[in-house]
Symmetry: C2
Subunit: 540 residues, 2 copies
């Protein structure tokens, strides 16, 4: 028996994260042919957009999809970002958990450093062919093929060529063959993915060359990059004892815990530290940060909760913006009613800054497009077309009592709800970054944002309903007006029928004009509402 | 500008998988206090069950949960498995992606080598205290504390003590303090988790000591371990070109590709290789496996698809078993009807063996328990209480047209559906192992299994309905029988009223007894049905 047991342990092995995702590629979104293709474009575009914005370049991204055979495609993504220097090219495109994104406390689309390496992995697994990269960075043009050593999770660069950047371009081209993928124009395909990306990124110019060689341009609508989200320090309410201890041990600049707290966390002033000293009596704030014990860290974190803090800086998170969402939605759906909510920034898990923007489009073009109860989910402007079922956004939207807003059955109404979660760290449920974990604070805010928009849609709808009733009444009365004018004139024995009729008409006109204004145009502060008054239904 | 861009890359870093899951702990199931506690017990129990079975020991596992403060608990899991030797203890309990599970092609509960290290991580993150392990393995008793170096994903053993195993025990004790967790008796809590684990593992004895010191025993129902699933070689239809190439390069035993294929893959005989030679003309099957090119591998994999293969060995997958499911469901729910389906093994993604068993419990105890349209999901006997929304099992069960089976609204019927997916590799959507990816082959089989069971439930229900109608008719006719006997006797002028009545009654009895049998007891081959005839409703 002892032998049998030792035999088990002879099977003991260590594995790299690349091997893990090779075996569990579905966790990165590589399951199903259509989804796999969208995942590839999603990961590459995400990196391009982040890179452009970080370098303050207006994104101009081209996606070319060529069909090479049955479920076999060549995909090329070309951006005008800063490119990648030689030293980092392999790590950026062929090593998992390496990059500039993972450890920083700043709002970005990507946040894991897995995506592009995942695409390289999928190309290798399905075709055995190495993806090719061309990078124009500063004064160099480099090109090479990328391979992955799965056992060690390291990238290898093959056929490396370095030339002067004689064209003086900047940008990255990534090109790879994939099998087990399929191009399709469904809600889950690349076309729709890019359409939604354009919706949430009106400052980007996106071009898609489809397999049939047709070129689709999603043009740039705004001529400047969104305000750059500021990289922030952790907020005292958003840090755990373990991370605080790590920060304290890693830093060299401060000699005392007091100074360390002031310089490493957001919103910690000298005054706040003295408040803390009063609350956390067991901790010596004058000792070296390096001497901080777990007990110290835990007591400080407990103490943080008893101090009144200013909320995290709002410039750490940048939403799409009300105007942009309005423009985009009007462009795409031309709905009868559109309500957009932009909530104030909040924190989850104690102190991770986030913010919700929501929009509801109802009727008009939404009806014509045959859309019913659709939820468009975004996180940091990235569309999330998959895994709707397990997503906190879906749950939150469905938990709204739509009955209260005159929308009896959400799934059967001509309604599209957009939710964008903006945060320095999006709590995805998986490495495939398609669904949001059901954090209570986040769920509550999503629900609040959607209800606020719904309230305004309802106001508009019931206002319109009332306006419609009023119009009917008015017509009826107008019908009587002519008769009344005749009768009055007859009674008075006068020949002023025409003037009487005109006067009556004017009275009616005035009365109903005022009634309509009052009923319809009362907004909430955080929400804007646009009724599309030119819409045909309004004319009835 | 060049400077700004280089500054971005100065932020470039590499990270360990431990750092990744530290920052994204929600991906391992650590989100929400109740869920986090269940996740801990889930991971530890899963390892204990796997270890016991692998060592052919009947599992006897004790879970002790002690409340130390607000959302602060001590959790201790004690098993009678083989224990872990010193050399592997740290890796098994404190290093991610290390273990005996990840690379093997065998049905197991755990399959990633993340779980226990994830628990150690969560203990460290929430309390800063090191989990303690005591291992009785062969002639040694070792005990120590476990820490994780997150930067390198390596475990450290502290206060290590090695003694002779003087008690001659075997097993592992893992004990750790956790904060941000909560014990609760909901569908998502530890109690229900253990109840479901017992349901699917009737050979295990599970004991739970609750925070209020109450002891709950889920007793062993079967006195022997389930048949040990055999570790199998990959099936030709289940391997990709990349993996085939890896296998070929890694092996040393075979001098020719032909022999390599025969010895490394399941179901490949000399005959099949000659079939392949005829199909794949461009590949030299007599060259060294080490010389296999990507094109060779791809051509062979394409060729595999044109050969008729015997299905994967069925002893690679072992279900709970019809009898056990019946026993367990009867024990727990005592339903009015119970139908259990055990489908034949199939493959997904071309060749990964899997099998579905499904059970439907309807009415009786299910109604009394107030359960409506509940889906109990399992994978390799492990309950999956979370992430129902994004799970392929949920999708498949909901896609059944329940109307066809006389169950108008699934969500409002007194029905519990159990689905267990058994496979050498369960396609989880995430590292938290709570939802199944929507692989089409798997979805189809789940649907088939559930529909098969539903058909039998329906038969029973409509049979019962018919039986009820028949009984009503019978009662009616019986009412006439006495009068008829009188009338007949009068007509014939005889004094045999009593005998006539008895005879008539017997005729009626016989006729309706047969009718009932025929209607009700026609089963499908793969399904067993149990009607609970003693149930009160049947008596009407």
């Amino acid at each position: 028996m002892a032998d049998a047991q030792d035999k088990i342990f002879s099977q003991f092995k260590e594995h790299s994260v690349a091997e893990f995702f090779k075996k569990n590629r579905q966790m990165l979104g590589f399951s199903g042919k259509v989804r796999s293709l969208t995942t590839i474009v999603h990961e590459l575009i995400t990196n391009s957009l982040d890179a452009c914005e970080e370098a303050a370049i207006l994104p101009d991204i081209k996606v070319v999809i060529s069909e090479l055979g049955n479920d076999h495609y060549l995909i090329r993504v070309e951006d005008n970002g800063p490119g990648i220097p030689k030293t980092h090219l392999g790590k950026a495109l062929g090593q998992m958990l390496a990059g500039t994104k993972f450890h920083r406390y700043v709002q970005q689309r990507g946040q894991q450093g897995i995506g592009a390496a995942g695409c390289t992995m999928y190309a290798l697994l399905t075709t055995g062919k190495h993806p090719r990269a061309v990078s124009y960075h500063n004064d160099k043009k480099i090109s090479c093929e990328i391979s992955i050593d799965f056992k060690t999770n390291h990238a290898e660069l093959l056929n490396f060529v370095e030339e002067p950047n004689s064209e003086n371009k900047s940008g990255l081209i990534y090109e790879a063959e994939f099998k087990d993928v399929r191009y399709e124009k469904s809600n889950y395909g690349v076309y729709e993915y890019l359409r939604r990306t354009a919706l949430a990124n009106p400052h980007a110019q996106l071009t898609l060359i489809e397999p049939n060689k047709e070129s689709v341009v999603f043009p740039r609508v705004i001529q400047q990059n969104p305000k750059r989200p500021r990289e922030v320090q952790p907020h005292p309410l958003g840090i755990g004892a373990h991370d605080l201890l790590d920060l304290a041990k890693a830093q060299k600049e401060n000699r005392k815990i007091a100074a360390f707290l002031q310089n490493s966390l957001a919103r910690v002033s000298a005054n706040k530290v003295s408040e803390l000293r009063d609350i956390v009596k067991n901790v010596d704030f004058d000792k070296k940060p390096d001497d901080m014990s777990w007990e110290d860290a835990e007591a400080i974190v407990q103490g943080f909760k008893l101090v009144k803090w200013i909320a995290p800086e709002t410039d750490s998170i940048v939403p799409i913006g009300r105007e942009q969402v309005e423009k985009s939605f009007m462009n795409i759906f031309n709905p009868e009613v559109l309500a957009v909510t932009e909530r104030a920034p909040k924190v989850y898990q104690g102190g991770v800054p986030f913010m919700i923007e929501a929009a509801i489009a109802f009727g008009g073009g939404v009806s014509q497009a045959g859309k019913k109860g659709e939820i468009m989910r975004f996180a940091n402007r990235v569309p999330l077309p998959f895994d709707a079922g397990g997503c906190g956004i879906t749950e939150a939207v469905k938990s709204v009592d739509w009955n209260r807003y005159g929308l009896k059955k959400f799934d059967e109404e001509p309604i599209v709800v957009l939710v964008n979660l903006v945060s320095v760290h999006v709590p995805y449920t998986g490495a495939g970054k398609q669904a949001i974990s059901q954090e209570q604070d986040v769920m509550d805010e999503i629900k609040n944002a959607v209800m606020e928009a719904a309230r305004n849609v309802q106001k508009y709808i019931s206002g319109k309903r009332r306006a419609h009733e009023v119009a009917t009444k008015k017509k009826l009365i107008e019908g009587y007006a002519s008769q009344l004018a005749n009768d009055l004139a007859d009674l008075a024995g006068l020949k002023i029928k025409k003037e009487l009729h005109e006067k009556l008409k004017r009275i009616i006109e005035n009365k109903y004009a005022n009634a309509k204004d009052e009923d319809v145009l009362e907004d909430d502060k955080e929400t804007s509402v646009k009724g599309n008054e030119d819409d045909e239904e309004t004319e009835e």
